[in-house]
Symmetry: C2
DNA sequence: CGGCTCCTTGAGGTTAATCAATCCTGGTGG
DNA sequence: CCACCAGGATTGATTAACCTCAAGGAGCCG
């Protein structure tokens, strides 16, 4: 049911039932198969989306056809919100499996914001925060590949509650995309880490052997 | 006088005299010589600034000591505003000549925002817009140097009201920093444009000879 | 045991930084 | 009026990072 789906979105948490009803009135349900393009980088911005079920990735496309995954959207999260400030999408989005989402047209949403200032304030603040995050991700792409990989590994470990071990849930080629590089370079870089005694690799499980060196590398 | 200085800031335009007085009460005047560091990338974020007189540049620092100028701040503009969302500065700032500025401590400012919701709404919206701009600038650094230069030239021309001619007011090495590259590469790239018949150069004046090709280059 | 997909390894090419040398050009003092 | 000097601007040669293309493995399922 629409309102229940909306209530699960962190961006909308804490809204009153009336506000959610108003939102539900402008939310268009969409059902997409896997690997479907939702919007492309540079497309005129018309709407943003709430992911109710399934999974979606947001990515930047480069000149050379390479892509860097910016984030994996989780159930209940919104994406493409920057349409409210921008007139074209700053990144592309694609489903990774069959997904159910809601489309929120930006002019409908803007109209709603005028009627409900509280909603607007909440959205704008959340969005500013998102933009800061996005900015950090894009900035990371300016670092050399080894630094990006080191960051990722350290983050993954702390995310999984360990300071030395972590398990990679996605394929290495997905990781390469997430780091904005290609599988070959990822493979070579991992190899270099192993030869340098920084980490040990067993399949998709990693062990950090020399944390200080890895942290130094992650710096720059 | 403080209030007059504040009134000139686009971010604050349209505020009532009372609101400006309240702001003036928390604005600390600062006088700095040229080439002075205002804050460094990564410093804990405590305040943002309004430039009343002089000139300031905001820049990203790279691992290798290179820097990319993100923007040249003009009189009446604010910079470092992202402290309101971030707990450290995402870029560094430095005066380019003797400058007079006002320091606005972020917790003072936040307190003021709570008391004056209208002020908060205005600031947040303006800031979200700024963040989008910043994001675009950082993204540009992912493009190859010729694309960045092409963009810059086209922007400069349209900024100066001409579709074919423009004049560069800063030194070429400053332009190189603005493009996130080094003077040598800028020189070679300009040369390539000239040899390719894209532009003509006379000192610091440029003429666009083949706009479509330049626009194509700017794409990616 | 093919055939598949994913991963790795090697060779080569492109982009752009670095280092070093040279060339202007405008300002200064003789 | 001219020689000289300093900073900026150019040019050449070298180097580093990392992508591309191409060719092997390694595991896995029918």
């Amino acid at each position: 049911m629409t309102v229940d789906d909306l209530r699960r979105a962190p961006l909308l948490a804490g809204l009153t039932d009336e506000q959610l009803d108003a939102l539900a009135a402008i939310a268009q349900p969409v059902l997409l198969p896997g690997a479907a393009t939702i919007f492309r980088q540079g497309d005129p911005a018309e709407a943003f989306y709430l992911l109710a079920e399934g999974s979606v990735k947001v990515f930047k496309a480069f000149r050379d056809g390479r892509t860097a995954t910016i984030r994996h959207v989780r159930t209940g999260e919104t994406f493409g919100e920057s349409v409210l400030f921008n007139d074209s999408y700053p990144a592309g989005a694609q489903t990774m499996e069959e997904s159910r989402l809601y489309r929120l047209r930006s002019d409908d949403f803007r109209r709603l914001m005028l009627a409900e200032p509280e909603l607007g304030l909440r959205i704008i603040a959340a969005m500013a925060h998102l933009l800061v995050m996005l900015n950090q991700r894009v900035e990371e792409l300016l670092l050399p590949v080894p630094a990006r990989l080191a960051r990722f590994l350290l983050d993954l470990c702390s995310e999984q509650g360990s300071s030395t071990q972590c398990h990679l849930a996605i394929a290495k080629q997905e990781l390469a995309a997430r780091l904005g590089t290609v599988p070959e370079t990822l493979s070579r870089t991992l190899n270099r880490f192993v030869r340098g005694g920084l980490i040990a690799v067993d399949g998709n499980t990693f062990e950090v052997l020399n944390r200080p060196a890895l942290e130094r590398l992650a710096q720059q």
